[in-house]
Symmetry: C2
Subunit: 210 residues, 2 copies
DNA sequence: TGCTACATACCGACCAGTCGGTAATGTAGC
DNA sequence: GCTACATTACCGACTGGTCGGTATGTAGCA
Protein backbone atom coordinates (compact mmCIF):
# COMPACT_ATOMS: atom_id res chain seq x y z
CA UNK A 1 0.00 0.00 0.00
CA UNK A 2 1.43 3.34 -0.94
CA UNK A 3 1.44 6.02 1.70
CA UNK A 4 -0.18 8.28 -0.89
CA UNK A 5 -3.80 7.49 -1.72
CA UNK A 6 -4.78 6.96 -5.36
CA UNK A 7 -5.36 10.22 -7.26
CA UNK A 8 -9.05 11.08 -6.64
CA UNK A 9 -9.79 12.25 -10.19
CA UNK A 10 -8.40 15.72 -9.67
CA UNK A 11 -8.28 17.35 -13.13
CA UNK A 12 -4.62 18.30 -12.72
CA UNK A 13 -4.16 21.79 -11.47
CA UNK A 14 -2.35 24.27 -13.67
CA UNK A 15 -3.40 23.39 -17.20
CA UNK A 16 -6.88 24.90 -17.40
CA UNK A 17 -5.64 27.62 -19.73
CA UNK A 18 -4.13 25.25 -22.25
CA UNK A 19 -7.11 22.90 -22.11
CA UNK A 20 -9.46 25.79 -22.78
CA UNK A 21 -7.42 26.85 -25.82
CA UNK A 22 -7.56 23.30 -27.19
CA UNK A 23 -11.30 23.19 -26.58
CA UNK A 24 -11.66 26.50 -28.41
CA UNK A 25 -9.81 25.18 -31.45
CA UNK A 26 -12.06 22.13 -31.60
CA UNK A 27 -15.43 23.71 -30.84
CA UNK A 28 -14.99 26.90 -32.88
CA UNK A 29 -13.88 25.01 -35.96
CA UNK A 30 -16.99 22.88 -35.69
CA UNK A 31 -19.66 25.47 -34.89
CA UNK A 32 -18.13 28.90 -35.32
CA UNK A 33 -17.09 31.61 -32.89
CA UNK A 34 -20.37 33.25 -31.85
CA UNK A 35 -22.19 29.93 -31.52
CA UNK A 36 -19.54 28.64 -29.13
CA UNK A 37 -20.44 29.72 -25.61
CA UNK A 38 -18.15 30.13 -22.63
CA UNK A 39 -20.16 27.43 -20.84
CA UNK A 40 -19.58 25.01 -23.71
CA UNK A 41 -15.87 25.74 -23.70
CA UNK A 42 -15.70 25.14 -19.96
CA UNK A 43 -17.64 21.89 -20.23
CA UNK A 44 -15.44 20.63 -23.07
CA UNK A 45 -12.29 21.57 -21.18
CA UNK A 46 -13.57 20.10 -17.93
CA UNK A 47 -13.14 23.33 -15.99
CA UNK A 48 -15.52 25.80 -14.40
CA UNK A 49 -16.43 29.32 -15.39
CA UNK A 50 -14.35 30.63 -12.54
CA UNK A 51 -11.27 29.06 -14.11
CA UNK A 52 -12.18 30.53 -17.48
CA UNK A 53 -12.43 34.10 -16.23
CA UNK A 54 -9.40 33.62 -14.03
CA UNK A 55 -7.27 33.09 -17.15
CA UNK A 56 -9.15 35.27 -19.66
CA UNK A 57 -10.73 38.64 -18.98
CA UNK A 58 -13.34 38.16 -21.70
CA UNK A 59 -14.39 35.63 -24.32
CA UNK A 60 -12.62 37.84 -26.88
CA UNK A 61 -9.39 37.56 -24.89
CA UNK A 62 -9.58 33.78 -25.10
CA UNK A 63 -10.10 34.14 -28.84
CA UNK A 64 -6.96 36.23 -29.17
CA UNK A 65 -4.94 33.73 -27.10
CA UNK A 66 -6.34 30.80 -29.10
CA UNK A 67 -5.39 32.58 -32.32
CA UNK A 68 -1.82 33.08 -31.11
CA UNK A 69 -1.58 29.46 -30.04
CA UNK A 70 -2.98 28.38 -33.41
CA UNK A 71 -0.32 30.40 -35.18
CA UNK A 72 2.40 28.84 -33.05
CA UNK A 73 1.08 25.31 -33.68
CA UNK A 74 0.98 25.97 -37.42
CA UNK A 75 4.58 27.12 -37.33
CA UNK A 76 5.63 23.96 -35.50
CA UNK A 77 3.67 21.49 -37.59
CA UNK A 78 4.26 22.97 -41.01
CA UNK A 79 7.46 24.97 -40.99
CA UNK A 80 8.90 22.80 -38.24
CA UNK A 81 8.24 19.61 -40.23
CA UNK A 82 11.63 17.89 -40.25
CA UNK A 83 11.25 16.11 -43.59
CA UNK A 84 10.15 19.32 -45.23
CA UNK A 85 12.87 21.50 -43.71
CA UNK A 86 15.52 19.00 -44.82
CA UNK A 87 14.78 19.52 -48.52
CA UNK A 88 17.74 21.32 -50.03
CA UNK A 89 16.25 22.86 -53.17
CA UNK A 90 13.96 25.73 -52.13
CA UNK A 91 11.55 25.12 -55.00
CA UNK A 92 11.25 21.46 -54.02
CA UNK A 93 10.53 22.73 -50.53
CA UNK A 94 7.75 24.99 -51.81
CA UNK A 95 6.09 22.09 -53.61
CA UNK A 96 6.53 19.83 -50.61
CA UNK A 97 4.86 22.54 -48.55
CA UNK A 98 1.85 22.59 -50.87
CA UNK A 99 1.75 18.78 -50.89
CA UNK A 100 1.79 18.78 -47.10
CA UNK A 101 -1.15 21.19 -46.94
CA UNK A 102 -2.94 19.06 -49.53
CA UNK A 103 -2.38 15.89 -47.52
CA UNK A 104 -3.85 17.50 -44.42
CA UNK A 105 -7.17 18.08 -46.19
CA UNK A 106 -8.96 14.84 -45.35
CA UNK A 107 -11.89 13.70 -43.25
CA UNK A 108 -14.51 16.09 -41.86
CA UNK A 109 -13.98 19.81 -42.48
CA UNK A 110 -14.00 20.60 -38.78
CA UNK A 111 -10.75 18.63 -38.48
CA UNK A 112 -8.72 20.31 -41.23
CA UNK A 113 -10.24 23.79 -41.50
CA UNK A 114 -8.62 26.88 -40.04
CA UNK A 115 -9.55 28.28 -36.63
CA UNK A 116 -8.34 31.75 -37.57
CA UNK A 117 -10.26 31.91 -40.83
CA UNK A 118 -13.44 30.80 -39.11
CA UNK A 119 -13.12 33.40 -36.36
CA UNK A 120 -12.24 36.35 -38.56
CA UNK A 121 -15.06 35.59 -40.99
CA UNK A 122 -17.51 36.32 -38.17
CA UNK A 123 -15.71 38.81 -35.99
CA UNK A 124 -13.79 41.08 -38.35
CA UNK A 125 -16.26 43.93 -38.05
CA UNK A 126 -17.35 43.56 -34.45
CA UNK A 127 -14.11 42.80 -32.56
CA UNK A 128 -11.00 44.75 -33.44
CA UNK A 129 -8.96 42.57 -31.09
CA UNK A 130 -9.90 39.40 -32.96
CA UNK A 131 -9.55 41.10 -36.32
CA UNK A 132 -6.06 42.28 -35.42
CA UNK A 133 -4.95 38.92 -34.03
CA UNK A 134 -6.27 37.11 -37.10
CA UNK A 135 -4.53 39.51 -39.45
CA UNK A 136 -1.28 39.04 -37.56
CA UNK A 137 -1.63 35.26 -37.77
CA UNK A 138 -2.16 35.31 -41.53
CA UNK A 139 0.69 37.75 -42.01
CA UNK A 140 3.06 35.63 -39.94
CA UNK A 141 2.33 32.52 -41.99
CA UNK A 142 2.55 34.30 -45.33
CA UNK A 143 5.78 36.11 -44.52
CA UNK A 144 7.40 32.92 -43.33
CA UNK A 145 6.30 31.01 -46.42
CA UNK A 146 7.40 33.91 -48.64
CA UNK A 147 10.98 33.34 -47.47
CA UNK A 148 10.99 29.89 -49.04
CA UNK A 149 9.32 31.19 -52.18
CA UNK A 150 11.85 34.01 -52.50
CA UNK A 151 14.70 31.51 -52.27
CA UNK A 152 13.04 29.47 -55.00
CA UNK A 153 12.73 32.57 -57.16
CA UNK A 154 16.37 33.47 -56.56
CA UNK A 155 17.51 30.01 -57.65
CA UNK A 156 15.04 29.19 -60.42
CA UNK A 157 13.48 32.46 -61.54
CA UNK A 158 9.75 33.00 -61.99
CA UNK A 159 7.45 34.02 -64.83
CA UNK A 160 6.06 37.54 -64.85
CA UNK A 161 6.65 40.02 -62.06
CA UNK A 162 5.11 37.87 -59.31
CA UNK A 163 6.34 38.70 -55.82
CA UNK A 164 7.07 35.98 -53.28
CA UNK A 165 4.82 37.53 -50.63
CA UNK A 166 1.91 37.97 -53.03
CA UNK A 167 2.18 34.32 -54.05
CA UNK A 168 2.36 33.23 -50.41
CA UNK A 169 -0.87 35.11 -49.68
CA UNK A 170 -2.45 33.53 -52.73
CA UNK A 171 -1.64 30.08 -51.35
CA UNK A 172 -3.36 31.09 -48.13
CA UNK A 173 -6.34 32.41 -50.05
CA UNK A 174 -6.80 29.13 -51.90
CA UNK A 175 -6.55 27.16 -48.65
CA UNK A 176 -9.10 29.36 -46.87
CA UNK A 177 -11.44 29.20 -49.83
CA UNK A 178 -10.97 25.45 -50.05
CA UNK A 179 -12.14 25.11 -46.45
CA UNK A 180 -15.29 27.08 -47.20
CA UNK A 181 -16.08 25.02 -50.30
CA UNK A 182 -15.42 21.77 -48.45
CA UNK A 183 -17.90 22.83 -45.77
CA UNK A 184 -20.52 23.81 -48.34
CA UNK A 185 -20.15 20.65 -50.41
CA UNK A 186 -19.71 18.42 -47.39
CA UNK A 187 -16.70 16.89 -49.10
CA UNK A 188 -12.95 17.45 -48.79
CA UNK A 189 -12.38 16.35 -52.40
CA UNK A 190 -13.43 19.71 -53.81
CA UNK A 191 -10.87 21.38 -51.56
CA UNK A 192 -8.09 19.06 -52.70
CA UNK A 193 -8.96 19.77 -56.32
CA UNK A 194 -8.50 23.49 -55.79
CA UNK A 195 -5.15 22.95 -54.13
CA UNK A 196 -4.21 20.83 -57.15
CA UNK A 197 -5.07 23.80 -59.38
CA UNK A 198 -2.94 25.97 -57.14
CA UNK A 199 -0.03 23.59 -57.40
CA UNK A 200 -0.29 23.56 -61.17
CA UNK A 201 -0.30 27.36 -61.19
CA UNK A 202 2.92 27.43 -59.18
CA UNK A 203 4.42 24.81 -61.47
CA UNK A 204 3.57 26.97 -64.45
CA UNK A 205 5.01 30.08 -62.82
CA UNK A 206 8.27 28.22 -62.23
CA UNK A 207 8.00 26.53 -65.64
CA UNK A 208 8.26 23.09 -64.15
CA UNK A 209 6.26 19.93 -64.70
CA UNK A 210 4.06 19.93 -67.83
CA UNK B 1 -59.02 68.94 -47.87
CA UNK B 2 -59.11 65.39 -49.12
CA UNK B 3 -61.73 63.12 -47.70
CA UNK B 4 -58.96 60.60 -46.97
CA UNK B 5 -56.57 61.50 -44.17
CA UNK B 6 -52.81 61.52 -44.87
CA UNK B 7 -51.19 58.05 -44.72
CA UNK B 8 -50.18 57.57 -41.06
CA UNK B 9 -46.72 56.08 -41.73
CA UNK B 10 -47.85 52.55 -42.36
CA UNK B 11 -44.76 50.55 -43.43
CA UNK B 12 -46.43 49.16 -46.55
CA UNK B 13 -48.09 45.83 -46.04
CA UNK B 14 -46.87 42.81 -47.95
CA UNK B 15 -43.12 43.22 -48.19
CA UNK B 16 -41.98 42.15 -44.72
CA UNK B 17 -40.56 38.94 -46.09
CA UNK B 18 -38.39 40.59 -48.72
CA UNK B 19 -37.23 43.30 -46.33
CA UNK B 20 -36.18 40.65 -43.81
CA UNK B 21 -34.17 38.81 -46.46
CA UNK B 22 -32.39 42.03 -47.41
CA UNK B 23 -31.67 42.74 -43.75
CA UNK B 24 -30.28 39.24 -43.37
CA UNK B 25 -27.89 39.72 -46.29
CA UNK B 26 -26.59 42.95 -44.78
CA UNK B 27 -26.38 41.99 -41.12
CA UNK B 28 -25.03 38.45 -41.58
CA UNK B 29 -22.29 39.59 -43.93
CA UNK B 30 -21.20 42.11 -41.31
CA UNK B 31 -21.41 40.10 -38.11
CA UNK B 32 -21.95 36.48 -39.05
CA UNK B 33 -24.93 34.15 -38.79
CA UNK B 34 -25.00 33.15 -35.11
CA UNK B 35 -24.27 36.69 -33.91
CA UNK B 36 -27.24 38.05 -35.84
CA UNK B 37 -30.36 37.75 -33.69
CA UNK B 38 -33.95 37.60 -34.84
CA UNK B 39 -34.62 40.82 -32.93
CA UNK B 40 -31.81 42.57 -34.80
CA UNK B 41 -33.16 41.37 -38.12
CA UNK B 42 -36.63 42.63 -37.24
CA UNK B 43 -35.30 46.00 -36.10
CA UNK B 44 -33.24 46.40 -39.28
CA UNK B 45 -36.18 45.42 -41.45
CA UNK B 46 -38.59 47.61 -39.51
CA UNK B 47 -40.95 44.74 -38.75
CA UNK B 48 -41.98 42.95 -35.59
CA UNK B 49 -41.20 39.50 -34.35
CA UNK B 50 -44.72 38.47 -35.17
CA UNK B 51 -44.11 39.28 -38.81
CA UNK B 52 -40.85 37.35 -38.76
CA UNK B 53 -42.38 34.13 -37.49
CA UNK B 54 -45.39 34.58 -39.71
CA UNK B 55 -43.13 34.27 -42.75
CA UNK B 56 -40.44 31.94 -41.40
CA UNK B 57 -40.95 28.99 -39.09
CA UNK B 58 -37.47 29.30 -37.60
CA UNK B 59 -34.34 31.43 -37.89
CA UNK B 60 -32.83 28.61 -39.94
CA UNK B 61 -35.75 28.79 -42.37
CA UNK B 62 -35.00 32.47 -42.95
CA UNK B 63 -31.38 31.51 -43.57
CA UNK B 64 -32.40 29.01 -46.22
CA UNK B 65 -34.69 31.55 -47.91
CA UNK B 66 -31.98 34.22 -47.77
CA UNK B 67 -29.52 31.78 -49.34
CA UNK B 68 -31.93 31.03 -52.18
CA UNK B 69 -32.53 34.75 -52.75
CA UNK B 70 -28.76 35.37 -52.68
CA UNK B 71 -28.27 32.72 -55.35
CA UNK B 72 -30.97 34.27 -57.50
CA UNK B 73 -29.47 37.76 -57.12
CA UNK B 74 -26.04 36.46 -58.08
CA UNK B 75 -27.49 34.88 -61.19
CA UNK B 76 -29.14 38.15 -62.18
CA UNK B 77 -26.21 40.45 -61.43
CA UNK B 78 -23.40 38.28 -62.78
CA UNK B 79 -24.75 35.93 -65.41
CA UNK B 80 -27.52 38.38 -66.29
CA UNK B 81 -25.02 41.20 -66.88
CA UNK B 82 -25.91 42.42 -70.37
CA UNK B 83 -22.44 43.61 -71.37
CA UNK B 84 -20.95 40.30 -70.27
CA UNK B 85 -23.57 38.13 -71.93
CA UNK B 86 -23.11 40.02 -75.21
CA UNK B 87 -19.47 38.94 -75.58
CA UNK B 88 -19.30 36.52 -78.47
CA UNK B 89 -16.06 34.63 -77.79
CA UNK B 90 -16.62 32.33 -74.80
CA UNK B 91 -13.05 32.71 -73.57
CA UNK B 92 -13.40 36.49 -73.63
CA UNK B 93 -16.57 35.99 -71.64
CA UNK B 94 -14.74 33.90 -69.05
CA UNK B 95 -12.13 36.61 -68.59
CA UNK B 96 -14.79 39.31 -68.47
CA UNK B 97 -16.50 37.27 -65.77
CA UNK B 98 -13.32 37.19 -63.69
CA UNK B 99 -12.78 40.91 -64.30
CA UNK B 100 -16.33 41.60 -63.14
CA UNK B 101 -15.80 39.65 -59.92
CA UNK B 102 -12.51 41.48 -59.46
CA UNK B 103 -14.14 44.89 -59.91
CA UNK B 104 -16.77 44.06 -57.29
CA UNK B 105 -14.07 43.61 -54.64
CA UNK B 106 -13.84 47.15 -53.30
CA UNK B 107 -14.65 49.03 -50.11
CA UNK B 108 -15.39 47.29 -46.81
CA UNK B 109 -15.47 43.48 -46.83
CA UNK B 110 -19.03 43.38 -45.50
CA UNK B 111 -20.15 44.93 -48.79
CA UNK B 112 -18.47 42.54 -51.24
CA UNK B 113 -18.17 39.30 -49.27
CA UNK B 114 -20.48 36.35 -49.76
CA UNK B 115 -23.53 35.71 -47.59
CA UNK B 116 -23.50 32.01 -48.38
CA UNK B 117 -19.83 31.53 -47.56
CA UNK B 118 -20.25 33.33 -44.26
CA UNK B 119 -23.24 31.24 -43.23
CA UNK B 120 -21.85 27.86 -44.21
CA UNK B 121 -18.55 28.51 -42.47
CA UNK B 122 -20.46 28.64 -39.19
CA UNK B 123 -23.40 26.38 -39.74
CA UNK B 124 -22.13 23.48 -41.87
CA UNK B 125 -21.96 21.06 -38.93
CA UNK B 126 -24.91 22.25 -36.87
CA UNK B 127 -27.65 22.90 -39.44
CA UNK B 128 -28.14 20.43 -42.24
CA UNK B 129 -30.75 22.73 -43.80
CA UNK B 130 -28.27 25.60 -44.09
CA UNK B 131 -25.47 23.28 -45.18
CA UNK B 132 -27.64 21.85 -47.92
CA UNK B 133 -28.88 25.24 -49.13
CA UNK B 134 -25.33 26.60 -49.19
CA UNK B 135 -24.04 23.62 -51.10
CA UNK B 136 -26.83 24.00 -53.64
CA UNK B 137 -26.02 27.69 -54.06
CA UNK B 138 -22.35 27.03 -54.73
CA UNK B 139 -23.17 24.17 -57.08
CA UNK B 140 -25.63 26.32 -59.05
CA UNK B 141 -23.06 29.06 -59.56
CA UNK B 142 -20.24 26.69 -60.48
CA UNK B 143 -22.32 24.65 -62.91
CA UNK B 144 -23.57 27.76 -64.65
CA UNK B 145 -20.05 29.19 -64.93
CA UNK B 146 -18.73 25.83 -66.12
CA UNK B 147 -20.97 26.13 -69.19
CA UNK B 148 -19.05 29.21 -70.31
CA UNK B 149 -15.73 27.59 -69.50
CA UNK B 150 -16.66 24.45 -71.45
CA UNK B 151 -17.49 26.56 -74.49
CA UNK B 152 -14.13 28.28 -74.16
CA UNK B 153 -12.40 24.89 -73.99
CA UNK B 154 -14.32 23.66 -77.02
CA UNK B 155 -13.22 26.68 -79.05
CA UNK B 156 -9.71 27.30 -77.78
CA UNK B 157 -8.57 24.11 -76.05
CA UNK B 158 -6.94 23.99 -72.63
CA UNK B 159 -3.66 22.75 -71.17
CA UNK B 160 -3.64 19.51 -69.22
CA UNK B 161 -6.78 17.52 -68.47
CA UNK B 162 -8.53 20.32 -66.57
CA UNK B 163 -12.31 19.99 -66.48
CA UNK B 164 -14.58 23.00 -66.86
CA UNK B 165 -16.48 22.27 -63.66
CA UNK B 166 -13.33 21.79 -61.63
CA UNK B 167 -11.99 25.12 -62.85
CA UNK B 168 -15.32 26.81 -62.08
CA UNK B 169 -15.15 25.54 -58.52
CA UNK B 170 -11.57 26.74 -58.27
CA UNK B 171 -12.67 30.24 -59.23
CA UNK B 172 -15.23 30.09 -56.44
CA UNK B 173 -12.61 28.81 -54.01
CA UNK B 174 -10.31 31.73 -54.76
CA UNK B 175 -13.16 34.22 -54.34
CA UNK B 176 -14.26 32.73 -51.01
CA UNK B 177 -10.69 32.66 -49.77
CA UNK B 178 -10.16 36.21 -50.96
CA UNK B 179 -13.08 37.36 -48.82
CA UNK B 180 -11.57 35.69 -45.74
CA UNK B 181 -8.15 37.24 -46.36
CA UNK B 182 -9.68 40.66 -46.98
CA UNK B 183 -11.47 40.43 -43.65
CA UNK B 184 -8.33 39.36 -41.83
CA UNK B 185 -6.11 42.01 -43.38
CA UNK B 186 -8.78 44.69 -43.27
CA UNK B 187 -8.00 45.45 -46.90
CA UNK B 188 -9.63 44.50 -50.18
CA UNK B 189 -6.31 44.83 -52.04
CA UNK B 190 -5.08 41.42 -50.88
CA UNK B 191 -8.26 39.89 -52.26
CA UNK B 192 -7.83 41.58 -55.64
CA UNK B 193 -4.24 40.33 -55.81
CA UNK B 194 -5.37 36.75 -55.41
CA UNK B 195 -7.98 37.14 -58.11
CA UNK B 196 -5.20 38.54 -60.32
CA UNK B 197 -3.22 35.34 -59.66
CA UNK B 198 -6.31 33.35 -60.56
CA UNK B 199 -6.73 35.27 -63.81
CA UNK B 200 -3.12 34.64 -64.72
CA UNK B 201 -3.61 30.93 -64.04
CA UNK B 202 -6.57 30.81 -66.39
CA UNK B 203 -4.58 32.76 -69.00
CA UNK B 204 -1.79 30.21 -68.73
CA UNK B 205 -4.21 27.29 -69.01
CA UNK B 206 -5.60 28.79 -72.20
CA UNK B 207 -2.12 29.87 -73.31
CA UNK B 208 -3.19 33.44 -73.73
CA UNK B 209 -1.48 36.70 -72.73
CA UNK B 210 2.30 36.74 -72.31
C1' DT C 1 0.94 33.88 5.50
C1' DG C 2 0.09 35.09 1.16
C1' DC C 3 -0.51 34.07 -3.56
C1' DT C 4 -2.17 31.37 -7.42
C1' DA C 5 -5.60 28.51 -9.28
C1' DC C 6 -9.40 27.36 -9.28
C1' DA C 7 -14.93 26.43 -7.68
C1' DT C 8 -19.79 27.92 -6.77
C1' DA C 9 -23.56 30.81 -6.92
C1' DC C 10 -25.53 34.27 -9.03
C1' DC C 11 -26.86 38.53 -12.13
C1' DG C 12 -29.25 41.28 -15.69
C1' DA C 13 -29.52 41.15 -20.61
C1' DC C 14 -30.74 38.80 -24.35
C1' DC C 15 -31.97 34.54 -26.93
C1' DA C 16 -35.34 31.93 -30.23
C1' DG C 17 -39.78 30.98 -30.31
C1' DT C 18 -45.13 31.26 -28.74
C1' DC C 19 -49.58 33.05 -28.59
C1' DG C 20 -53.84 35.69 -28.48
C1' DG C 21 -55.32 39.23 -30.88
C1' DT C 22 -56.25 42.85 -34.84
C1' DA C 23 -56.45 45.00 -39.24
C1' DA C 24 -56.35 44.66 -44.11
C1' DT C 25 -57.55 41.97 -48.13
C1' DG C 26 -59.76 38.76 -50.80
C1' DT C 27 -64.13 36.12 -52.19
C1' DA C 28 -68.75 34.17 -52.53
C1' DG C 29 -73.63 34.90 -52.45
C1' DC C 30 -77.33 37.60 -53.37
C1' DG D 1 -72.74 46.83 -54.94
C1' DC D 2 -73.34 45.24 -50.46
C1' DT D 3 -72.96 41.90 -46.68
C1' DA D 4 -70.77 37.77 -44.54
C1' DC D 5 -67.12 35.24 -43.91
C1' DA D 6 -62.25 33.37 -44.74
C1' DT D 7 -57.59 34.22 -45.22
C1' DT D 8 -53.46 36.59 -44.95
C1' DA D 9 -50.33 39.83 -42.74
C1' DC D 10 -48.89 41.57 -38.97
C1' DC D 11 -48.53 43.09 -33.89
C1' DG D 12 -46.19 42.96 -29.35
C1' DA D 13 -46.25 41.02 -24.76
C1' DC D 14 -44.55 36.98 -22.82
C1' DT D 15 -41.81 32.47 -21.69
C1' DG D 16 -38.21 29.36 -20.44
C1' DG D 17 -33.75 29.14 -21.07
C1' DT D 18 -28.95 30.74 -22.20
C1' DC D 19 -25.72 34.45 -22.66
C1' DG D 20 -21.19 36.78 -21.01
C1' DG D 21 -19.59 38.30 -16.91
C1' DT D 22 -19.10 39.01 -11.55
C1' DA D 23 -18.63 38.29 -6.56
C1' DT D 24 -17.12 35.55 -3.17
C1' DG D 25 -15.14 31.54 -1.27
C1' DT D 26 -11.56 27.82 -0.87
C1' DA D 27 -7.80 24.36 -1.67
C1' DG D 28 -3.07 23.76 -2.49
C1' DC D 29 1.60 25.30 -2.71
C1' DA D 30 5.74 28.63 -1.59
Amino acid sequence: MPSREAPPFKPARGNARGTLLDAAHALVRRQGWAATSVDQLCAAAGVTKGAFFHHFATKDALGVAATEQWTERAREHIFGNAALAAIADPLDRVFAHIDLRLALIDGPAEDFSCFVGTVVQEAFATSSALRFASGASMTTYAERFAEDIQQAIDVHGIAGQTSALSLAYHVQTVLQGAFVLAKAKGDAAIARESVAHLKRYVEMLFERGN
